[in-house]
Amino acid sequence: MLKPLIRGSAASGLLVLAALMWQITQAAAWDLQEASKPYSGQTIRMVGEALPPLEALKKMAPEFEKQTGIHVEVEMYEHSEAVNKVQLDLNSHRGRYDVIIQPHRELGKFATNNHLVEIAKMMADPALRDPTFEPEKQLYQTAWHEISWYEGKEYGFPFTVLNMFMWYRSDLLADPKEQAGFKAKYGYDLAPAKDWKQYRDIAEWFYRPDQGFYGTALEGKRHEALWYEWLNFLYSFGGDVLDVKSGSACGPVIVNSPKAVASLEYYKSLLQFSPPDSLNYFWDDVMALMQQAKVAELIMWNDATYAVSVDTTASTVVGKVGFDLVPQGDGGKIGQVEGWTYLIPVYSKNQQAAFLFVQWMMGYDRQLEQHLNGGASGRPDVYASPEVQKLPYAKASMEANEHAVPKATLPQSAEMTDILVRELSSYLAGEKEAQAALDTAATDISTLLGSCAPMTYPAR
């Protein structure tokens, strides 16, 4: 009775062992140099936004070239230019680029127009797939699925997993004189804002224009930056643009809900504590203000934190800035899913070489190096490393990634953004009231998306 059981167990054990051995052998057998031999001598050209993560990649590329003989060329452009270059290249079917690094909001447009290689096919090819690379275990799953997948299909891997959170001057908030004055005026201790009332109080307290110092700084220019910034307020107040669970889903438009209107009115109320040119600011401007020690708190991107809190050649506030999640409202703890993703166009003539490079870049060592040089990795194990933990923004980044809210990646997402930017900017400029601006935005978005996007809150 016992013997068959022992035999069965032994057989299962052997099978598991064999499977493990096979996997280990495979892992040992796969070698980048061997895998890249057929493609040695090819040149892959990639394009992305001119920011530290891409600069870090460019510095690492020669190592890949040395190992594989595949030459890597990197083109770097300003945000909009990097997007427009790719759009034109894809629609011309020219195949200039072998790897495109794009914001994830563009994904639906590219995927539905069949511009992209489905990466799963390459992942299934044992000649190309590095068995030690296991994205389903090694990446932030929500971020990966939102940033690099569309309608259940896998198109790439995150180049950066971006998020916005609160930056504040930790030295000022810890100053006993400021603390005493603040407590006397507001009746509670000065500390990093946990809710929007505290955030406003701190902005008001530190608003000292006669000294060239401001409580906060809004990104109020008619630019995508305005939309991205306001989304933090919208989500935190418990609102959203569409009532859906994932970025690739279409659903009821709720961007003119009472919560959304309240978030927008609150957002504008901060303008009085922001520098006079705030309606002409986007992310570069507010980052420069923080670098020059001219602002007490603001909400900004994680991929800009390096230049403020680590790079002493660019910032006067290294060691004086703290980072935390955006203050909480009815929506609780929030972050926003955003990121740039590696994608391979179907028109590329060097798709396999491109895949090998992307896969190589996703390896732990490269991810760590890129992250330490201003990147924003999609691998939790990178955040867990002691070197990353030392970075002042590591905790806030991780927490924001864990609470990230998806945003639309539908083919019409660029136009949705454009509509919202226009209406938000109109409200800030005093052309409209908050309700009217968001009603117009909701109506236009509903018309744009069609029958899948009815308006939950009719326009007044």
């Binding site: 427009n84 759009q87 629609n91 447009k109 539905t112 127009n113 069949n114 224009p209 006669d210 060239g212 109020g220 220019k221 008619r222 630019h223 520098p275 006079p276 040119d277 705030s278 309606l279 002409n280 203000l289 001219k294 083919p411 019409q412 660029a414 136009e415 454009d418 226009r422 900017s425 109109s426 409200y427 800030l428 400029a429 005093g430 052309e431 409209k432």
Partner: protein, 309 residues
Amino acid sequence: MTNRTPSPRGMPLLDRGVGPLLMLPATLLVVVFLVGPFYYMVYTALTDLSFADASHSGSFVGFDNFRKLMRNDPFFWASFLLTLKFVIIAVGLEFLLGFALAFLIFRFVASQRLLTTLLLIPMMIAPIAVGLIWRLLLQGDFGMLTFYMRKVGLLAQNAAVLSAPDLVFPTIVAIDVWQWTPFVTLIMLAGMMSLPRAPFEAAMMDGAKPFQIFRDVMLPLLRPVIALVLLLRGIDAFKEFDKVFLMTGGGPGTLTELVSIYAYRVNFRNWDLGYGAAVAFMIYLVVLILCSVFYKAVYWSSRKPAAAF
């Protein structure tokens, strides 16, 4: 003396029928870069082509885009009217200042060549550079002009020109005037210098006063030049894009969203190329109509006094 028929070798090339052949390169250039794209734009305007939406792959939709433009697009018309306002104010000021400057130089300045060379500087700068220069000068925190304007009390301490809803439009007009007034000056000065002396001498002999000579002799004679300069500047101002886009991006709100910026958004942000082509065609059509009406009006009335004279 006998008549000799010249041999074909001795004939000028044009007489040998080579003329049309010599025009071929220029004709080809015009067809490939102007006529062809224009007809393609007209064709695209009749389709639903979109690079964003895969279901809009360029099917023929007749005049749907134009119907939407005429009936359901208040933002197009708002930007169109704003552009007209920009053209009228900017070109009007440029003309008045340019004309006055040209007249002063014509009458009172001896070394005109040096002065005109100096005047040319703003219009020689690329519009992108002009936008960048002014953006920096007017930057709210460290802009040099902002600093001095605040210092002399022209600007409130808590204001910034490009963020102030009531200042931003006048500012873009002023910058256009700064850049293009010298162009008007130059053309008007050339016009003044080429005027015949006889009508002026006749008017003086008849006892006409200086203002009468200016109004009744100089202005009618300059009318074709005025028409030309207004037409050139009008068309150019209607297409204004670079400077304004760089400085304000069309904002705050829609306060500086000129029609060219609107067309850019439709075409290259939203990639709605069918509708974008309709927008572009509409701009072309309106400019064409305005120009021909304006030019005919001025040219026609400029012929009457000339004939009478």
